[in-house]
């Protein structure tokens, strides 16, 4: 280590001495992880002492056009951090089994100090995460930031969104209440209707003939073991590529300048947004807590569903109003957008000069918003509830059996008393016939 780093004065206090030791003996390699996670900007020489590396990272200058719109990615990331922290704390108490899942949620909400806040911040962050993620995606799309050389990062970003959706989908079942159970049942049964692969995928998701303890176990494993590792890998790749390629240039080149410093301008902005976001999420959690439904019961279809996750709202609306094919086509549109950078390789980044790409994205955005609005209003019983009315709508026995018997007997026999017996078993509709096709309810 250079001697100059030790300073002119010898530290006197024990704390100062320890601090000085840490600074002088630790180099910038330790900051690599923070840089990978997007918490520090700028290239840093490896063998720098850590205090100098910090200073250099803070002095890094971002392009001048970086503004509030560029904070959307940071907001998404911040929400993900909220999810991780609250999720880890929830996992201290949550027990993933059919018998214990529901009581453990009750325990968290009613017995653990601030347990209600952990749960509802987790729930609200899950919804806001998707909204912020889609907003970030749109900002990147319309500013043409997905164009080469950043096309790989576009794909990784989309994979991250998909991972977040998978997080939500697997987490949605975990409370094991009626709403969670039947919403999952409906979505899985829709997946079952997907052409070619639907049946296989659905059976892999369920792990059983129906949504059961096996499904709960695999959803929990995916939610807390597999998906976190996948998302961590994707996040590191995402940030590494952001560092590699830098922030995308603006559509209309601005006058060359020195840009804005990471500290204090960008970091203070990010801090403000983070604080605001945390306050907003806590407020939503306190004002609009997710109610706990009745315990999951595969034999009882609930009278109403309460959806609390934006993806469920969108999916349910597509399923109910457009059927399985609606969901398939909407997913197909997402796939087209996914691979768009492979075909749209012109350097043009102004959205007004990219009509096809802009139309596709606008279509997806409008569809998403409409489906979200429609889905949030559903609050209804899933089509699978049609299993139940076969009991309610069972035909009453024929009016006063003798009336039927005598009428038929008069026609069939010479004398009423000697009529051949009529096997008057009430004809009931076959359950299979009575059950409407999924999605037909809303058409």
């Amino acid at each position: 280590m250079p001697d100059s780093n030790n300073g002119d004065r010898e530290p006197t206090g024990w704390f100062s001495r320890i601090k000085q030791d840490v600074i002088s003996s630790t180099d910038a390699r330790l900051l690599g992880f923070l840089r990978f996670l997007g918490l520090l900007y700028g290239p840093i020489a490896r063998r720098l002492p850590i205090d100098q590396a910090f200073k250099r990272a803070l002095q890094y200058r971002l392009p001048a056009h970086v503004g509030w719109g560029h904070a959307l990615g940071g907001i998404t990331y911040l929400l993900f951090i909220f999810m991780v922290i609250t999720g880890v704390l929830l996992s201290f108490y949550y027990r993933p089994s059919v018998q214990e899942a529901y009581p453990s949620i009750q325990y968290i909400v009613s017995r653990i100090p601030f347990g209600w806040m952990l749960r509802d911040v987790h729930v609200w962050s899950a919804s806001l995460l998707i909204v912020a993620g889609v907003a970030h995606l749109l900002r990147v799309f319309f500013s043409g930031a997905y164009k080469p050389p950043r096309e790989t990062n576009w794909v990784i970003g989309l994979l991250l969104i998909l991972t977040f959706v998978a997080f939500g989908a697997t987490g949605y079942l975990l409370p094991w209440d009626q709403w969670a159970y039947w919403t999952t049942a409906e979505v899985v049964s829709t997946v079952e209707g997907f052409p070619l692969v639907g049946g296989f995928v659905a059976s892999m998701i369920k792990g059983d003939e129906f949504i059961s303890g096996a499904t709960l176990s695999r959803f929990f494993a995916l939610h807390v073991i597999i998906l976190p590792w996948v998302s961590l890998g994707l996040l590191i790749l995402h940030f590494a590529l952001v560092r590699t390629h830098g922030v995308a240039p603006p559509a209309e080149p601005s006058s060359p300048g020195e840009g804005i410093p990471f500290w204090p301008n960008h970091l203070v902005r990010t801090f403000s947004i983070g604080v605001l976001l945390l306050a907003a999420v806590i407020s939503l959690a306190a004002l609009f807590p997710r109610p706990v439904g009745e315990p999951a019961d595969p034999y009882v279809v609930p009278d109403a569903l309460v959806s609390t996750w934006v993806v469920v709202d969108v999916s349910l609306a597509l399923i109910r109003y457009l059927g399985t094919w609606g969901l398939v086509l909407f997913s197909l549109l997402a796939v087209i957008l996914f691979f768009l950078p492979l075909f749209d390789r012109k350097p043009e980044t102004d959205w007004r000069k990219r009509p096809i790409a802009t139309s596709l994205a606008a279509l997806y955005l409008v569809g998403f918003l409409l489906a979200w609005a429609a889905g949030a209003r559903l609050e209804s019983v899933p089509p699978s509830a049609a299993l139940r009315p076969e009991v309610e709508e069972r035909a009453l026995p024929p009016e006063a059996g003798a009336e039927t018997g005598s009428a038929e007997g008069d026609e069939a026999a010479e004398t009423p008393g000697e009529a051949e017996p009529v096997d008057s078993v009430p004809a009931e509709a076959e359950p299979d016939e009575a059950e409407p096709e999924p999605g037909s309810e809303g058409l």
């Binding site: 009581p103 949620i105 009750q106 968290i108 909400v109 009613s110 209600w116 806040m117 204090p264 301008n265 203070v268 902005r269 801090f271 403000s272 604080v275 605001l276 945390l278 306050a279 806590i282 407020s283 306190a286 004002l287 807590p289 109610p291 706990v292 439904g293 009745e294 009453l396 026995p397 024929p398 009016e399 006063a400 059996g401 003798a402 009336e403 039927t404 018997g405 005598s406 026999a413 008393g417 000697e418 051949e420 017996p421 096997d423 008057s424 078993v425």
Partner: protein, 419 residues
Amino acid sequence: MSWAPRIRSALLFVAIAGLPSSANGQERTDREIVRQLGAAGSQYGCVICHKDKRRAFAEGAHANRGIVCHDCHGGDPEAVEKEPGHAAPFIGVPTKLETVRICGDCHSDPNQMRPFGLPADQGAELRTSRHGELLFYRDDQNAPTCTDCHDSHTIRPPEDARSDVHPLNIMGTCVACHDDEEMMAGYELPTGQGEVYRASAHGIGLYEHFNFAAPTCISCHGSHSALPASTTQVADVCSQCHALVGQAFYAGPHGPATRAGQMPGCLACHSNHGTELVPVEAIEAVCSGCHEDAESDAAAMGTDIQTLLMRAEGNIHSAEEAIHELGAAGRETDDARFRQRAALTDFHRMGPAQHSLDVQALEDLGRRVSSVSANIRNQAEVAAEQRWEHTLLLAPTWFLALAAIFLAYLRLRQTKREA
């Protein structure tokens, strides 16, 4: 007739009856069967002409009991032509009275009925009934005989859902005659009881909930001993099922009055076939139907009972809502549900208890319901209060957040000034 041909005939008949008989699935026609039997040197003559009766009889309970046509109708079953076949002793189509005798030959014999667990007193019961009175003593041909309710050839046991006397079908069997206005006018009997019954609590229980414990016509009137209960007997009939209600009823002032024939028992408030459940809010009005003086003690008692029951009902609903609120707030509800069930039991005990007109007993039960309900309600209110307290957290949260943002703003402003 000696025993040998009789046994042979019975075996042949059972063999024929056991062959496939449905028109669609039939592999051989009846004519082919008869031809085959003739070729084998044996025949059962009746089925040559009366094959439709054979088919009907084969579906009934008697087909497998060794009973054949000539046991009831006489004649010579070995004859293959009508005239010798119908030779004496030939009964043909029995009269109504002959039917009772023919059926009674077996069904009044305890020794024959014992293996099947059937009573042997239906004939005697029929004789004591209104139907029997008309049939035996007035030779009234409108009066039903055995085959009018049980069919003549396809006689199925009551537990067979296709039987005319199955609980789901018995009402239809009765109203076949009792809805005939012309016929009933001769006996000064009203019609339409079937429809009223179908809409009653009993009818709904039977036809909508398939509750076979629900009474049918014969549960109150008797089957073979069919007779309407007299005014003084109604409460006894009802209390066969509504035992606690009956007990309370006779413990109160209305019971002795019913025994004395001063009031029509249960029918004073509930109708006979309609069996309406008097809504809680209509109790006072029902009481005033007899106790017209609104100032009387009896009318005041009606008001008190209605008030107590309405209050208890409200408490039960309130407890249910509170449990729902507790559940939605993530509270454990097992204990509250258990207590609410206990309160519900007390509330249901108020139903029978009101028939004794014991206001004190009702007040005691009502207090227990109220106490449990208040306790559960209190739990829900505590939960709601705690939930409201969560919102108090917003004040420090937003104070800190805005303070932090303000400081950040100051820092940014300072940076701009320095720049």
